[in-house]
Symmetry: C2
Subunit: 337 residues, 2 copies
DNA sequence: GAGCGCTCTTACAACGTTGTAAAAACGAAG
DNA sequence: CTTCGTTTTTACAACGTTGTAAGAGCGCTC
């Protein structure tokens, strides 16, 4: 008892049958006499048997585990305090739980770390990878595909490659922000974009600009941010210096929008009276901000769940061609615009 | 190539030696002729061999994986948006990475889920558990100890039991807040406590009250919150209704402190001029809040890393008696008090 | 009562690794 | 030229499970 855990062998001995029969009872396969089934079941009870997952994995070639990889995001482990990743994690965990699959958390913020991730998957420690990557130049997606590892990406890959992904219509999101600000009668509208090497940032900006142009505003003052609060404040500062009469700002995520709000307030400007601010994501900062942020909602949890679904599906029936699922954004109107 | 991954057998065949020799080269054991070592190494290169981790685990009885369990926290998966858990995750991941150990994320928010966690560990899917639990009545710690699973807790267990844990001197933290407010000349001081069934909440409150009493304030108006923004706002509302002349508030975490600040501002009160507010944790809301929060810093990342360290140590040499590591808080003075 | 088709059960060989005991190689010493 | 240590290598048995092919039991029919 104290040393080795009870094994199939032990249960078989107690029940007076062979290992294979016990195995079939445990796995619910047909063709076991009900009476004998009961005997086995009570023997399991009696010995306190639990199937050894590692041994099972060795023969089934499945671990019941997937890697949740957060890649590219610069500064290492502070990504976990970004509400966006928290929502991704929540969505993934929530979905996987029901399928009895467990996520192992991996950070791929260096070339060394990326190699480790690929090794980990190739070693069969996990059945596949869920990859959340921000940088479009991230080499990890390509390396995983190359290594033949089942993978699903959050966001379209930088270069086209045969891999499944979920994404959102970021252009539509940008368009919604523009439409709302123009409809509210704003005329001096600027924007704080995300990092321009991130496809999602490009799309949000492009969608915003296109819609603005359609409304008769051919040029939109733009400052590039880095999706962090600091960068958002700095970008707002630059915009304000160059365009003091700005009366509306669209920021490419809530963290930057919140920082912009605070910076504008520090300059004595009232939100939304003097300047309207729209964020993007609808994550916790949108609610924590005063005034609360009007924002373009990205259904992160649903997207994360869809990502997990696509991965499990591809594990179930391998050899299918990659799929993509695109979500629609939604404008959430609160107090800031 | 396409089907089965290369195995030790394959490498051995190519190198013209036995499996055991290859194994010894891979694991860096002594007693392999340097020349042969080179041959084997190039055979590994040539075949693209990667050791199968599952097979290895089966014989070594170690998986190189630990469970990171978030337990008790009521509402399910929205815990991941709580900056506190983000910091715990960051600290754990950061430390484990260097040891080549990977964390599996698990939520234990129901009795069913708790059983699954225990099963998971008993099945040998992970070598041990890192348990972050808030509720003192959480049955999971006891069940893990009972099952003989190596585990380390974040925070002292509700009932005494033989298990290692890391914690902070919450009383000292409460004391620091009281000292600071009194030194600033505040006289109508109230507090928003955390849930009173959480030991950490009790300690913060007790430390605060003791210090207040020592400063000549025998009674401190108290409202109980639930560590969420909503509960913090509601608690502040109650305090304000009953003690309209309050001029300082100590909240048991930053999320509630931030909500208190916003609620006071909504009532036309200025922070810190009319009311001083102190938070607890020094997590991201402390910086996001306007004015930025004065707060009692809890070194969460360090504590999480220490937790991981204790677990790995106990896996290394089993049978040691449990250990505890207690951290000291630190007052971070910003604008709110 | 031999032969046939069922259903249910059992041996046995994987899966890919590690650890151990035995064998081989090789010098050095007697 | 044996004999005895070392070192290096090998064969083989684990580890705990699953899947498959063979076997046992049993009621039929002819």
């Amino acid at each position: 008892m104290s040393k080795g855990a009870p094994t199939l062998e032990d249960v078989a001995r107690v029940a007076g049958v062979s290992r294979a029969t016990v195995s079939r009872v445990v796995n619910g396969t047909r063709n076991v006499d009900p009476e004998l089934q009961e005997t086995v079941r009570s023997a399991i009870e009696q010995t306190g048997y639990t199937p050894n997952r590692v041994a099972r994995s060795l023969v089934t070639r499945r671990t019941g585990t997937v890697a949740l990889v957060i890649s590219g995001a610069g500064g290492g482990s502070d990504v976990f305090t970004d509400p966006f990743f928290g929502r991704v994690t929540a969505g993934v965990v929530d979905f996987l739980r029901a399928q009895r699959v467990h996520p192992v958390l991996m950070l791929a913020d260096s070339d060394h770390a990326r190699t480790e991730v690929v090794e980990f998957l190739r070693q069969g420690s996990a059945d596949g990878a869920l990859l959340v990557t921000t940088h479009s130049a991230d080499p990890l997606p390509a390396r995983l595909v190359e290594a033949g590892v089942p993978a699903v990406l959050y966001a379209r890959p930088g270069r086209p490659m045969p891999v499944s992904y979920v994404d959102m219509d970021h252009r539509a999101g940008g368009r919604m922000a523009a439409d709302h600000l123009v409809a509210a009668g704003r005329t001096n509208i600027a924007t704080i974009s995300g990092p321009l090497d991130v496809p999602a940032s490009q799309d949000r900006l492009a969608g915003f600009r296109d819609a603005m142009a359609r409304h008769g505003f051919p040029y939109v003052p733009t400052a590039e941010g880095g999706f962090t609060a600091e960068s958002g404040g700095a970008a707002m500062e630059r915009l304000l210096a160059e365009y003091p009469d700005v009366d509306a700002v669209f920021a490419a995520n809530d963290l930057m929008a919140q920082a912009a709000v605070y910076l504008l307030q520090a300059h004595g400007l009232r939100i939304p009276d003097d300047v309207a601010v729209i964020g993007f994501d609808d994550s916790s900062p949108a609610l924590a901000c005063r005034p609360q942020l009007t924002t373009v909602r990205q259904p992160v949890e649903d997207m994360a769940a869809a990502m997990a679904y696509l991965l499990l599906e591809s594990l179930e029936k391998p050899g299918q061609r990659p799929k993509s699922v695109i979500f629609e954004p939604e404008l959430v109107v609160r107090a800031s615009a």
